[in-house]
């Protein structure tokens, strides 16, 4: 942010500095390998870690990372966790690693990461750092031969709405916000230093076929698809529960409205009688009457998150079935010869 300085800076200080939108996340190969190692070692448990790097213009560079130890819910261990973080950052500073937190990474199982905790962590980070990103890595999907790495960010409009904690239908319509707008996925670029690319070029395996090819050309995908379907079905159950909550709310609302109308009618009749008798007419609204108590509208946040998850599962299923098609046709052609 521009600091108020000499008079000549007045113009700069007057115009509010608009942060250029984050367009690309540039990760180093080192970080990718570290994330993969950490997530794979502890799979199926979910783990997290911190990302370090630099924020340059519209590119967020991630140059290093370190994992978080598995934390238990205990008061003194919380302080330990903070100490660990400070210690790591201090030590890394001594070897000239960028000391700047730019976000965090977490592992996920088949894409079930859109939870309220994620949003809350984002809000926590956002208070301290202007731009932060969350990298999600899926070790299960990577076994299929695809590098399942995603960079996510909360969209700005959603963050404003979350701060006011108001998720009623009207507000959402106003802002034209739907469930696709909550998370923004940012494209990832990978960069490597010249030294490491020299080493890798030299150490590259001589075989024409590499491990990822073996993974990709495997015919059996049913365990993966089965688990995807299981999660999908569970999410559908959750979604239907949320929708039932809404139906309940609407039914109550309409019932309350009917009651209100009835009460108002009664009041009007009473007022007419009183006018006839020459008395003061009673007010038509009575806020203390429980009939008029505004019903709280259930928050749509959960249903949005669940919807996000479901769409994620659907996309994954699409991707995997697409791959299976190619594989099956390949096998067919192979056999015909």
């Amino acid at each position: 942010m521009a600091t108020p300085g000499a008079r000549s800076f007045l113009q700069v200080a007057a115009t509010e500095e608009v942060a250029s939108p984050l367009r690309v996340v540039q990760i180093e190969g080192l970080v990718i390998l570290k994330i993969i190692k950490h997530c794979k070692e502890f799979s199926p448990a979910l783990v997290t870690g911190q990302l370090l790097g630099l924020d340059v213009g519209s590119v967020l560079e991630v140059t290093n990372c370190f994992p978080f130890p598995v934390r238990e819910e205990d008061e003194e261990i919380e302080a330990d966790g903070a100490n660990y973080q400070l210690e790591m950052m201090r030590c890394l500073r001594e070897v000239n690693v960028d000391n700047n937190t730019v976000g965090w990474y977490q592992s996920t199982l088949l894409g079930s990461f859109q939870t309220v905790e994620l949003i809350e962590t984002f809000m926590n980070y956002q208070e301290n750092i202007r731009r932060c990103v969350c990298i999600i890595y899926d070790p299960l999907k990577s076994n299929q031969g695809v590098l399942a790495l995603k960079a996510l960010k909360l969209s700005d409009s959603f963050m404003d709405l979350y701060r006011t904690n108001n998720f009623t239908g009207e507000k959402l319509r106003e802002k034209n916000l739907s469930w696709v707008d909550i998370f923004e996925e940012i494209p990832i670029k990978v960069s490597n230093s010249a030294l490491i690319s020299a080493f890798m070029t030299e150490l590259e395996a001589d075989t024409p076929v590499v491990q990822c090819d073996y993974d990709r050309l495997q015919l059996s995908t049913s365990p993966f698809l089965e688990r995807n379907m299981e999660f999908l079905i569970e999410c559908m159950d959750d979604l239907s529960m949320e929708q039932q909550k809404f139906q309940y709310y609407y039914r109550n609302l309409s019932r309350q409205q009917a009651q209100q109308q009835a009460w108002i009618q009664k009041r009007r009749v009473e007022n007419m009688a009183r006018k006839a008798a020459g008395d003061e007419p009673l007010p038509e609204e009575d806020p203390s009457n429980p009939v008029f108590k505004p019903l709280p509208e259930p928050s749509r946040l959960d249903s949005f998150l669940i919807t996000n998850q479901i769409s994620n599962y659907c996309n994954q299923i699409n991707g995997v079935t697409g791959q299976s098609f190619s594989r099956l046709y390949l096998t067919k052609a192979l056999h015909e010869n």
Binding site: L33, S254, I317
Partner: protein, 285 residues
Amino acid sequence: MAAIEHTVLQFSTSPSSSLSAKVHPLVIFNICDCYVRRPDQSERVIGTLLGSVLPDGTVDIRNSYAVPHVSGEQVALDIEYHHNMLISHQKVNPKEVIVGWYSTGLGVSGGSALFHEFYSREAPNPVHLTVDTGFVNGAGTIKAYVSVNLSLGDRQLAAQFQEIPLDLRMVEAERVGYDILKTPMVDKLPTDLEGMEASMERLLALIDDVYKYVDNVVEGRVEQDNTIGRFLFDTIASLPKLSPSAFDKLINDSLQDNLLLLYLSSITRTQLTLAEKLNTAAQVL
């Protein structure tokens, strides 16, 4: 190599089993990154290697971190930093212990012996890894050494660094894909289908090669090699023998299953859009 002054030498212990080391690609990346970031006045980087010793005696090097040091006339290592980092790393992964140390630069120098002595107090039989970041020989050489004590009778003379075989197979790097890790800048991570395409192209190239080889052998242009012939025979025999109708049925069933899933997921997505429109568009009041 260590100074060998006397003519009579006696190796007190030869390495008991053929000790070998296995290095994960992350370690190489770490070392290169630390080298690139080293403070201007130091020529090389020293650091600790973490890992475990596998049951068959191989040392599995999985992680590493750099340690600030002073080289040259006097050698010194920041021991406190080393211990702090070790404790921090072990909080995350208690199974990783110190298995050795690394330094950049070709060959083993005099100061290395002192470092090695320090590390041998930390771990039994530490492995010394040298990574030649200067590409002195025109190639990046990575070598691993263990130290063997040279003694004359009862007196300790010197420690000789003996090279041990190093396994640099980079399975994880292969998984990620060398294209991503090799080039200085990759603009986009490949999607599933692009990766699939690349794999199939490679497979096709391999099949073409085999075809050409078989043609050459049949026409007598190339000497036939029985082992290759046997390999080919095994490969082709590993295709399951199914009658064409059974095979067709199998393939079609799988195709239909996949189509079903695709259809289901498209329906779900349509349903989601519809439900969301209904939810937010409802105007009761």
